[in-house]
């Protein structure tokens, strides 16, 4: 895939606040040019990111992208072949995991099965040789924090999945870690519980204000929890930004397709006097807004998010300013409660669009309709094929 080039559709950043905030914060965890090789295979090929004090950062990517490896390097379980890890300015390479004071929430929770909940939470405090009275007090507080104050005498196996996760969280934060690492924390929960725990975890993290690195392959999870997201692929960072940056202004087709659903069309760009003209077979000619997409030529990919496309009864009203239109046929309509999904055909293309149900037009399959979307919502990337 060619180096992609976003067209920067909206000139005004609609939501850059998270990124601005993060820059204002002091860098707390600094990961610089990490390289990890397993034999001939480069698991990490120069990964860099920073986490500010109290910031929540998410490493997002498909399996095998190196996100978990990065986490393990930060934790001290893997010694990198190159690069640096600094926490609060202190070089961490060569510091063993037990001396890093990092709390980790494992995917499998990794609760000690032979110890009670109380002993599990007390483990880190015991390792710090704290007086018994303090251990008891802090374990009590931690169990209170996760709203399981009576779980102490139980064995982990007697708890539900959600309860186990809360205990694992209590165990990770009771040591007052300088950094919290969450490794796919929700993947072992069923869908409903996952949503619930996500909200609960976010509340806890906001209350504790610990710098946090979350690893996940679930973009919704990443957006819901993180202040900033690092999108990774094949051991490299593809893009770093706030959730809305990543979603609204993906830097390349991979990021765009990984985060959220999209309609992708192949087209060709021709340089013109007032900027490039883009021909998309079956969709017509698109002329990007002034100043955008300068220098594009040759094969391009055009991307439109489903929720950006308005589905109108044919020729309902004159076109909105700065927008494109296309004639389409409604093939299928699915009412999903809060939103309605439309599957439409425009020439050779099958297009997905959705609207909130309360503002969805009444249409029947087979009906001829008009699609309309803002020029600003049309993303164009240089490149031959879909990633």
């Amino acid at each position: 895939m060619a180096a992609a080039l976003a067209m920067a559709p909206g000139l005004e950043p609609r939501d850059g606040s998270a990124a601005v905030d993060a820059e204002a914060r002091a860098t707390y965890l600094e990961v610089r040019d990490l390289v990890v090789r397993f034999g001939d295979y480069a698991a990490l090929g120069g990964v860099s990111f920073e986490v500010g004090a109290g910031e929540r950062l998410c490493l997002l990517g498909p399996s095998g992208c190196g996100k978990t490896t990065s986490l393990r390097v930060v934790a001290g379980f893997i010694h990198p072949d190159g690069g640096a890890v600094r926490i609060a300015g202190r070089d961490m390479l060569g510091v063993p995991p037990e001396a890093r004071n990092i709390g980790i929430l494992f995917q499998s929770y990794a609760l000690f099965p032979h110890l009670t909940v109380h002993e599990n939470v007390a483990f880190g405090l015991r390792m710090r040789n704290l007086p018994e009275a303090e251990v008891r007090r802090r374990v009590g507080e931690a169990l209170e924090l996760v709203r399981l104050p009576k779980a102490g005498p139980k064995r982990p196996s007697m708890l539900s999945g959600g309860e186990q996760q809360r205990i694992a969280f209590a165990r990770a934060v009771v040591i007052k870690p300088s950094l919290l690492l969450l490794d796919e924390p929700f993947s072992n929960l069923d869908a409903r519980l996952r949503q619930e725990m996500r909200g609960e975890l976010l509340d806890l993290l906001q209350r504790l204000e610990i710098a946090t690195v979350l690893v996940t392959h679930d973009q919704e999870e990443a957006m819901a929890i993180a202040d900033r997201i690092v999108v990774m692929r094949a051991g490299m960072v593809e893009q770093v930004g706030g959730p809305s940056d990543i979603y609204e202004r993906p830097r390349n087709l991979f990021v765009a397709r990984f985060v959220g659903e999209s309609n992708v069309f192949a087209g060709r760009a021709k340089p013109g006097a007032a900027g490039p003209q883009i021909d998309v077979p079956g969709l017509g000619r698109l002329d990007p807004p002034e100043g955008a997409g300068a220098g594009l030529a040759g094969a391009v990919q055009v991307l439109i998010r489903p929720e950006k496309i308005r589905v109108l009864p044919r020729a309902a009203r004159p076109p909105a300013r700065e927008s494109y239109r296309a004639a389409a046929t409604l093939e299928r309509l699915q009412y999903l409660g809060h939103r309605t999904e439309y599957r439409l055909r425009v020439g050779p293309h099958s297009i997905l669009a959705w609207r909130l149900s309360e503002s969805a037009p009444q249409l029947r399959p087979g009906e001829a309709v008009t699609l309309e979307w803002a020029k600003a919502d049309t993303l164009v990337f240089a490149g031959e094929t879909a990633a």
Binding site: P97, E98, F112, E119
Partner: protein, 296 residues
């Protein structure tokens, strides 16, 4: 489930259990009953076995310090074999579980070879190594450590070494099985919580692999208690254990009732000891859980 269906299930289960139960009765239970019954017979050196129903041989065994001495030695040496095998086997198991590919295969082969090798070969190997003209003694003399060969073969020491060598596989594979099923993230979790390598081992790995150690000890101890070939060949008559006494009574003196009596005593002392340890362990664990519950 309704009662009729439950009865049907039970009937099916019983039919399935019938064949193994019959096999067990014929090839195991019946001979055991025969030995027990035979051990209550009398014996006359000239007339041979005299049918009777008297516990005379049991009284004889349990009141004679020689026989009790042999039983005690058997128990003591078996315990030594078990302890040595556990201590030596644990690091090997750990290494086995952490190694991959060819190295692992090689280790397993090395472990299993003594098990499938004839005890005669094993014994001869130790003789070559430890005999009075063996490699070790020759080396010691050549180095001037000693003037005369040290007696190493035909001692309790060689018996323990030999049995450990043969039985180590049971210990190592039992421990390896429990280490294998251990979630390695638990160790990483302990490390991240501040436990150094050794503390993580003591707090997490060791306690979670104890069931494997217990299984290994059970196997090695019971096999040591009844081992015959290795003790007979490399320890010989000077370090007599129960199995040799039984062999002597059966084959040389033809006193089957006494041999049967000693077999029963060996069986009971082995299972009795194991059961006692098992009960003790369960009691200990229950006490720990109660203590933890009270604390929290």
């Amino acid at each position: 489930m309704n009662p009729g269906r439950a009865r049907h299930e039970l009937g099916r289960w019983l039919r399935l259990a019938l064949l193994p139960a019959a096999l067990f009765a014929v090839i195991y239970a019946w001979p055991m009953v025969q030995i027990l019954r035979g051990s209550l017979n009398g014996f006359d050196p000239i007339a041979g076995i005299v049918p009777a129903l008297k516990p005379d041989f049991y009284v004889k065994f349990l009141t004679d310090s020689y026989y009790l001495g042999v039983l005690w030695r058997t128990v003591r040496l078996s315990l030594m074999v078990t302890v040595v095998a556990a201590i030596a086997g644990y690091p090997i198991s750990y290494f086995l579980v952490r190694s991959r590919g060819r190295l692992r295969l090689l280790l397993i082969i090395v472990l299993l070879v003594p098990l499938v090798t004839s005890p005669v070969v094993v014994a001869y190997g130790w003789l070559v190594l430890l005999g009075s003209k063996g490699i070790v003694n020759m080396a010691l003399i050549a180095l001037g450590v000693t003037d005369e060969p040290i007696k190493m073969i035909y001692t309790a020491f060689t018996l323990v070494i030999g049995l450990v060598q043969v039985l180590a596989a049971f210990m190592v594979l039992s421990i390896a099985a429990s280490l294998q099923s251990l979630d390695w993230n638990l160790v990483l979790a302990a490390r991240s919580l501040g436990a150094g390598g050794w503390r993580a081992f003591g707090a997490i790995i060791l306690p979670l692999s104890l069931p494997g150690v217990a299984t290994g000890c059970l196997l090695v101890f019971s096999l040591s208690m009844s081992a015959y070939a290795v003790p007979a060949l490399i320890a010989g008559p000077q370090v007599k254990v129960m199995s040799e006494l039984i062999y002597e009574q059966t084959m040389a003196l033809l006193n089957w009732p006494f041999a049967g009596c000693m077999s029963i005593i060996l069986l009971l002392s082995t299972t009795g000891l194991l059961a006692a340890v098992g009960v003790l362990g369960r009691w200990q664990r229950a006490r720990q859980i109660a203590a933890a519950a009270a604390e929290a």
